[in-house]
Symmetry: D2
Subunit: 342 residues, 4 copies
């Protein structure tokens, strides 16, 4: 009973079916009829003109977007526990040719206008200091927290004031929207987000994410750069139609939302069982809780697999549990009981 | 009836089956049981210790291998019509952090020890000149030509003498081995190749290539670098088991060779029809031939799709026809007849 | 009697005097009163608004200018014997983060609209090909040839048509202007040059070159980028006033032109002696001539130091002789006699 | 009366004399007889084999050394207030092709084995995390603090244990050695330092620093890389003999130490006057003290120029005063009196 991560879950049957349906030869790269439908599909979803490019991984999506936003001599503000800072093996440095990640604070890996300002206000505007050019936030965050539309909009307003781009790492964007119950544009385009890494891999896909640029404004300038950089990074797959097929299948009938809701519901079930053990409110599909080493061992002995996590000060230990679109209800219920019984 | 390229052909049914069979959750990235089998599978195939890493594209495979071989201030010798020089959107410059491609000559995009030496002998060994660190050859070449084992070995000997790494871009490696009828090691490890980009996408795969390092020698030093650089380039897919599954399916029972033989046979059928029109001997799955604009138009009017090509001096025009593992025999026969009738 | 190169000649006494005069403490970097005078000095010289930044070397000047003109995924058209291609140790690849040098032909290392077009016309505008973003020409060229105002203007017109930046490597700009006898703007700003690496080191300076941007047009966009990249490359010296002092001293009273005329005159004296041996017309301070190995040895035995050069087809050998602002007239006369006597 | 920084002070007369003496033409780049003497001069100074390369700036020295130590996918541990992190405009990212600075804590910008360990111990050794490859410390630090030989040796031992390179940013190395009164090797080679950026610009030079590699051990492997990277960065000046001349003049008769002692003595005089106002013990030539805005204004009104500094919590304001090798004793005495009278 695996609760390691949603990132290696099975592929949804409708995604498989869509890929199979794409098997007839078509134009290579993104010249096929499915890839050509992406802009329209995302424009429909967000209710405004959007341009979307597929790539295989969230790391590539994030870094291609950021590299178009920031010159090599510039910087990107992000949380000190952001995935781009801690878990992408230095990919931002590679894609941006050495731009700097400017680290900011915030509970649950959420930035606020105040913490962003605290990070950048001391940066004197001269050539000796790396200047910020963009902000990157993660929705839902690395601790499973969700920004509300107002919270994103406040950051968007700051970005606009300071002439910074705003990027959203949406590896678990679906979980955030499912939690909020809002229109997907409310926490993105409406709130000042210029580009979104829209994650599908953790939500029923196989190997396709979308970089979505919201127009018709300044974000248009990013698209050509990303298109060329995607090829230059070896991410322009010749059989791109199979990536487009995955994305379209997940958008179709809001399968992405249904999948995210299922994962969130499973996490909520665990959260209720965890009660006071929770380290963070559970708003998406990740549950962080205090467990002693003995308790963790007991859970594992009972057949549950998960990662240990850094324990906060004063706690005997911690664990991370991640659900997925297809978490087995009986496994989830069993784990909830086991946690409650600790 | 499409003869554009083999790079967007359908996926082989056994590859689909293998991917479906990999659907159960497993460890992420390359920690799954299929990815863990790759080293053994390629060691078996080549009859010696080998290490293999999957990536989604040939461009990524080539550039990750080269970036491990050459420092940013160094150079890679390649043919002036090599794919890495002409068709990868500058990816070698990105991955190597600005190393130089040192261009050499050769008929049919084939390098020889003589042409390589002509390119590098004038390079004075001082800090003002970019020094060569590696040689990259394409097998089969961009013009569908195939290096014999002796030809590769001669280049391998030069590489060894000059202390250069030897890389092989094997986007169509299967077609070359099918043509030669030799052991795959005879044109790679036995001949001094350190790393091979072993192509599967053009040969029945969906989105998986292998970078194969031949040990147990100096190539071991490259593996750790490539492993880290793959992550840093956003090419470490979390559901890597589906890439490993593709590769293992194509290795199983030498499906990769069967597929390549089928494509080669179709190209040979076209080559016989083309006769004196051929610009290059047909040794793999690509056919380059002289056709006037009117003749090209006639072929297209008859339902055949293909790319125009740069005509050599004195010719009225040229075309490139590419077959694939699943070229329809009736389409091939029809095209052969149409060419013969021009 | 050294005729190796002008790049290690002595420093002009007026340059020494100006540096000594700058010795009082002042603001660091380029905040001092001399650095602040550069824009006005170059605006005066060129008769239009100009912005100028000092750096220590021509390689840094060239590469900083080019890196502001071309994105990492783009290319710069230059001659295949351009200094940036052959003699800067890969610096363009470093500064541009891997952009490509697109090589073109031309007698005497001079590009023409025709040779530039031949290089870039075949580049299909898609993401698989590196697109040109700039042209770089060398004035005077690596073979001591000089572009006339009309020749530069023709390239400038092409650059404008194709929306390319035009950079001039003027390591020996003074020699070119001295030869032409024209206004310095006639072969630069008037002819469409956006940025000029104005060389002083080979012309009486110690370690200061200027990157000059001609406004008030599109080149303004480059200045901020170069200013930041200069710091990022470690080229913003804290005692920058000594670099500004060198440049101002050489501009003062057109010392740069006097120095260049002296070097050109010495070269011309050698050229007359060389007669039919000349490989290129002598228009600046470099003389390329056919000499057999025995003749070269004889000259060296007589006390003359110089570099051998690649002999053209059919010639027994070749040599390069370079004069300088302070070439000793008796040495020059002696060498001229020795050449005539061969 | 300027106390802004030592980085724009006048050039020492013996440095001017040495440069003038180098004026005769010689081989270019570092082929001249002065540049060729550097290895011996530094080997003598440190009492062991050393290799030394000149560059114009401390930023270039630091970043060239670090780039040879760390692969692009790696990291360098430094203090969060280290010059390379805060004041080099992103140069480390440029030179290392995007490697990460891993920030550690420590009073007065001094690292300790404990703070370094705290920074790197949590870094799991997998491809998702950037691994440390080097440590960089500043001697004297950005707050004018000095590492003792034992303190450096403790860090050197940690570096050795963890297989990390150890770099020392010695922009004010002279001030540190003058303070310690020890042999220069005691805080460098003897203590495990592999490469030292030995600063001369702030200590009487014009535009020359040395990167010193201590052999005969593993540091030899760095030298060739730095030599090539120096050219590639445009830092190989053709008239390098004038840089070597500066360095040799400052080494001659330990002028570098005399100059540093003079600067330190002036700072000590100010420190005594400042008394309880000091924010850090004064061990080199920098004095950080608490002053209210009104007090700072009063000092400025009295003719003293200096930079404001970030005030620590609870203080009304702060200032940084920097002395230099040639600080005028009457100015220093006057400032000391003025501070004491606040």
């Amino acid at each position: 009973m695996k609760f390691f991560s949603d990132n290696a879950a099975s592929v949804h049957p409708r995604v498989w079916a869509a890929m199979a349906a794409a098997d007839a030869p078509d134009h290579g790269y993104d010249g096929d009829h499915l890839s050509q439908r992406l802009d329209a599909a995302f424009s429909d979803l967000f209710g405004r003109p959007a341009t979307a490019l597929w790539v295989a991984t969230g790391t590539a999506a994030n870094c291609l977007a950021l590299a178009a936003m920031v010159p090599p001599y510039g910087g990107v503000v992000c949380h000190r526990e952001a995935h781009i800072e801690t878990d992408e093996g230095g990919a931002p440095g590679f894609y941006t040719h050495g731009a700097k990640l400017i680290l900011a604070e915030g509970d649950g890996a959420k930035l606020t206008p105040e913490t962003i300002t605290a990070a950048i206000a001391p940066i004197r505007d001269d050539v000796h200091r790396v200047q910020p050019h963009a902000i990157s936030i993660t929705q839902s965050t690395e601790y499973g927290r969700v920004y509300t539309p107002d919270e994103v909009a406040a950051i968007g307003a700051l970005a606009c004031d300071r002439d910074l781009w705003l990027h959203m790492d949406g590896a678990r964007f679906g979980n955030a929207v499912a939690h909020l119950g809002c229109h997907p544009a409310a926490v993105t385009a409406d709130a000042g987000v210029d580009a979104l890494s829209f994650g599908f891999v953790k939500n029923g896909g196989l190997g396709a994410e979308a970089i979505v640029f919201f127009g018709e404004g300044r974000a248009d300038a990013l698209v050509d750069t990303v298109r060329r950089a995607r090829k230059r990074a070896g991410h322009l797959q010749s059989k791109g139609r199979y990536l487009a097929a995955q994305i379209l299948a997940l958008l179709d009938g809001d399968l992405w939302l249904d999948n995210a809701r299922a994962a969130n519901a499973a996490a909520t079930e665990l959260a209720i069982a965890a009660g006071d053990r929770l380290l963070h409110p559970v708003e998406a599909d990740e549950v962080f809780l205090v467990v002693s080493p003995a308790e963790a061992a007991a859970l594992r002995a009972a057949g549950f697999d998960f990662y240990d996590w850094n324990a906060p000060a004063g706690a005997p230990g911690a664990a991370r549990l991640v659900t997925a679109w297809n978490s087995d209800p009986t496994h989830v219920a069993a784990l909830a009981r086991a946690i409650a019984a600790l």
